[in-house]
């Protein structure tokens, strides 16, 4: 068994429209990979398909989480196997406070027979909020309702810190964050970094990768990985854009 998030030949369609074709990517546990690529190329589709979104039909391939194929499982089952997704556009849920929401999520993950400790929970919650420099008053606000773009992203990371996943997919968590927030959120992510977690960070900006230094950078175009490199690849993209990548690709596939 390989300790990794191992995506093999994944094909995903939305309705009749194929978005991902034979997509392959391995994120070993303990590594942080970045995924970049032009708008509309299928990055969010990949994230949602992995998490089991019912609208994203997996028409082929497998996804192994530490050796176990999760294709076809319910989203909550996949989540409990340790896969966490920070949403590009998190949903708002009226009337459900952050504290109650995360609490329900923590409780849902408790192993059978284990008892939930409210004091332990709040201690952890407040500690993580302090880390993310979130005001305590946030706990009683309805989840994402009326949050600014940056607040939503911070709240996603708070959930990640609380739920302690083995693999995290962060979909453009940096968009909408101001400079300070970017640093704070990155610090949060870096604190979780270690041999017990693998992460796939989807971003458009090399700037984030100054804070969260990736082990690898993948570039995606047309529903596939077209290039893989190290951190310097992101710098190169920043300088040259995506065109230099897609031209040879089209030449190859033509």
């Amino acid at each position: 068994m390989t300790a990794a998030l191992d995506i093999r030949n994944l094909c995903v369609s939305i309705g009749d429209k194929p978005i991902l074709q034979d997509f392959c990517l391995v994120v070993p546990k303990g590594e942080v990979h970045a995924l970049m690529g032009p708008n509309g190329t299928g990055k969010s589709t990949l994230a949602k398909a992995l998490a089991g979104h019912p609208d994203y039909t997996i028409t082929g391939g497998e996804v192994y989480v530490d050796g176990e194929n999760i294709v076809g499982l319910e989203p909550d089952v996949i989540a409990k196997k340790g896969l966490f997704m920070a949403f590009q556009y998190p949903s708002e849920i009226a009337g459900v406070s952050i504290a109650n929401f995360i609490r329900a999520a923590v409780q849902a993950r408790l192993p059978e027979g284990a008892t939930f400790s409210a004091t332990g929970y709040y201690k952890d919650l407040y500690a993580q909020m302090d880390l993310l420099k979130m005001d305590r008053s946030f706990t009683s606000r309805s989840i994402n309702e009326g949050f600014s773009g940056g607040e939503k992203k911070r709240c996603e990371i708070l959930q990640m810190l609380m739920l302690k996943p083995t693999y995290a997919i962060m979909d453009e968590t940096d968009s909408g964050l101001d400079i300070d927030a970017l640093r704070i959120v990155s610090e949060g992510v870096n604190r979780m970094r270690g041999p017990q977690m693998g992460a796939l960070v989807i971003t458009h900006y090399q700037r984030l990768l100054d804070y969260i230094v990736p082990d690898k950078v993948h570039v995606m175009a047309g529903g596939k990985i077209v290039k893989t490199g190290d951190k310097s690849l992101a710098l190169e993209l920043e300088a040259k854009g995506y065109d230099w990548l897609s031209t040879p690709l089209e030449a190859v596939t033509a």
Binding site: K48, A51, G52, H53, P54, D55, E74, P75, D76, I78, A79, K80, F84, M85, F87, P90, S91, E92, I93, A94, G95, V96, N100, F101, I102, A104, A105, A108, R109, S142, Q159, L163
Partner: protein, 490 residues
């Protein structure tokens, strides 16, 4: 003595269907995770049989040894009931499926309500223990009445309250032993002919609570009644009248459950409230009927000067509920409020609303209604706010919010707001929202099951209302919502 009497009374109707065999005595039948869905076999000493006729009314009156005026009141009501058509020109056609000739109108074991749980017959006691009533009583109630089919099996109030002159009895005892207090208001807030079902109740009513709170007495803990339907084909027709004298305050909570039977069951209560000058009545309903119950209830209060009546009405379960609690704001500065939650699951129709009749200057009313429709469940809101032209300084606020889960849910809103005169203020807001697939996915991604995700959205939707409810009640409500959601996902 009890068992014999049954035969001496006129029973012209068919004999009752036989009660299930002993042997299954120990095991409750039909248990599932739904708390109210079970029943123990019970033998009834008094049974008015199946079907409704004058004989049924005579039977009930005789069993109860009522005064003649009550007999006549009932007989007259029966005529009114027969003369009124089903209100299907505006209400659900499903009403036509009620077969009045197949219902049993009175069932009891013939005992007086016990003052201690030890004295309550075993089968009945087991039922209420399972529903947690004695426990709640110990924890936070000032008095409890537990009705089993037609009559109360248990009735007890704290001694301190009796000393202050508080009366908390059943309808028969109220009308017979405290006629001077109750008779002047009985059937006055809701006249017999108000609607077909108030007429039916007036003909065959039994049980319910008659409560009087003397001048200035403020009852701190709630009084509670629990209405339990145990028998199949049975109709429960409790009658409640609460009078809070000048400056008095009381909170009354009612809970109800019935087991799931194949055939339909009818629950048709009449509840009248009278809040005299400066009095406050809060009436809370926790309804958790199984989905074979037709729940057709008339509830109205009369608020005198500076008095306040608040209905907190949560309708969960039942096949069809029709209920529009109202307040007649008769005195200057009277306040009326209806806070209601209706949850319509598959196969259920919640047709609920509120009525506010302003009859004096500076009266204010507030209606907040939240409905949740799931799957094929249907929620209808009907409101009536009436402020005549000659009044000044009246205010009404109406908010109706609907939450839809699954696309084929249906919700209708009929807010009739009839406000004349520029010297009055009305505010009306309505919203319809949906729990989207993306919201459910978002919650599932955090590890919640689909059911838990839906429960959480529903609880979130009603949260700003439930926060205003007494604690014990909010907890119970959340539990009931969770139970409903469990049943709604495949």
């Amino acid at each position: 003595m009890v068992a014999d009497t049954a035969n001496t009374l006129p029973i012209e109707n068919e004999p009752t269907p036989s009660i299930p065999e002993a042997g299954s005595q120990e095991a409750a039948i039909n248990i599932d995770r739904d708390k109210g869905n079970f029943f123990y076999n019970t033998t009834y000493a008094y049974d008015a049989g199946v079907g409704l006729s004058e004989a049924t009314v005579h039977y009930i009156t005789d069993v109860k040894k009522e005064d003649e005026w009550i007999r006549n009141f009932r007989l007259k009501a029966l005529d009114v009931f027969h003369s009124k058509p089903m209100p299907t020109h505006w209400a659900s056609k499903d009403l036509e499926n009620i077969d009045f000739s197949k219902i049993r109108y009175y069932l009891s074991q013939g005992q007086k309500p016990s003052r201690t749980w030890e004295e309550v017959p075993d089968d009945i006691k087991r039922t209420f223990e399972r529903l947690g009533i004695p426990e709640q009583e110990r924890k936070f109630l000032a008095g409890v009445e537990a009705q089993f089919d037609s009559e109360a099996a248990y009735s007890k109030m704290k001694d301190s309250l009796s000393k202050e002159g508080v009366i908390f009895v059943g309808s028969t005892e109220g009308l017979m032993e405290h006629a001077d207090i109750f008779r002047p208001y009985f059937g006055k807030i809701i006249p017999t002919g108000d609607n077909k079902f108030s007429a039916l109740n007036s003909a065959v009513f039994s049980g319910g609570s008659f409560i009087y709170i003397p001048k200035g007495v403020k009852v701190k803990q709630p009084l509670q009644a629990y209405f339990r339907i145990n028998a199949e084909n049975f109709g429960q027709f409790e009658r409640t009248l609460i009078i809070a004298d000048e400056g008095a305050e009381v909170t009354y909570m009612e809970g109800c459950t019935a087991p799931k039977f194949e055939t339909s069951t009818l629950h048709s209560a009449v509840v009248e409230l009278v809040a005299l000058k400066g009095a406050k009545i809060q009436y809370i309903t926790v309804q958790n009927w199984s989905d074979n119950v037709f729940n057709l209830v008339t509830k109205r209060g009369l608020a005198e000067e500076e008095a306040e009546i608040k209905w907190i009405d949560c309708n969960i379960g039942s096949r069809l509920t029709m209920k529009y609690p109202g307040v007649i704001l008769k005195g200057r500065k009277a306040r009326g409020e209806v806070l209601s939650i209706a949850l319509a699951n598959n196969g259920q129709h919640q047709d609920t609303g509120a009525k506010m009749i302003h009859m004096a200057d500076e009266t204010t009313s507030n209606i907040i209604s939240k409905s949740i429709s799931i799957g094929k469940g249907r929620a209808t809101y009907r409101g009536l706010v009436h402020i005549p032209k000659h009044l000044k300084g009246c205010k009404n606020n109406t908010e109706c919010d609907a939450l839809l889960i699954n696309t084929d849910s249906r919700t209708d809103t009929y807010p009739a707001i009839d406000v004349r005169g520029a010297a009055n203020q009305v505010q009306h807001e309505a919203s319809v929202s949906k729990v989207s697939a993306d919201q459910i996915f978002y919650m599932q991604q955090r590890g919640l099951s689909e059911t838990e995700a839906m429960s959480l959205s529903v609880n979130g939707f009603v949260n700003d209302l439930t926060r205003q409810f007494p604690m014990e009640y909010s907890v119970e409500l959340k539990r009931l919502i969770d139970l409903q959601m469990e049943g709604s996902v495949g």
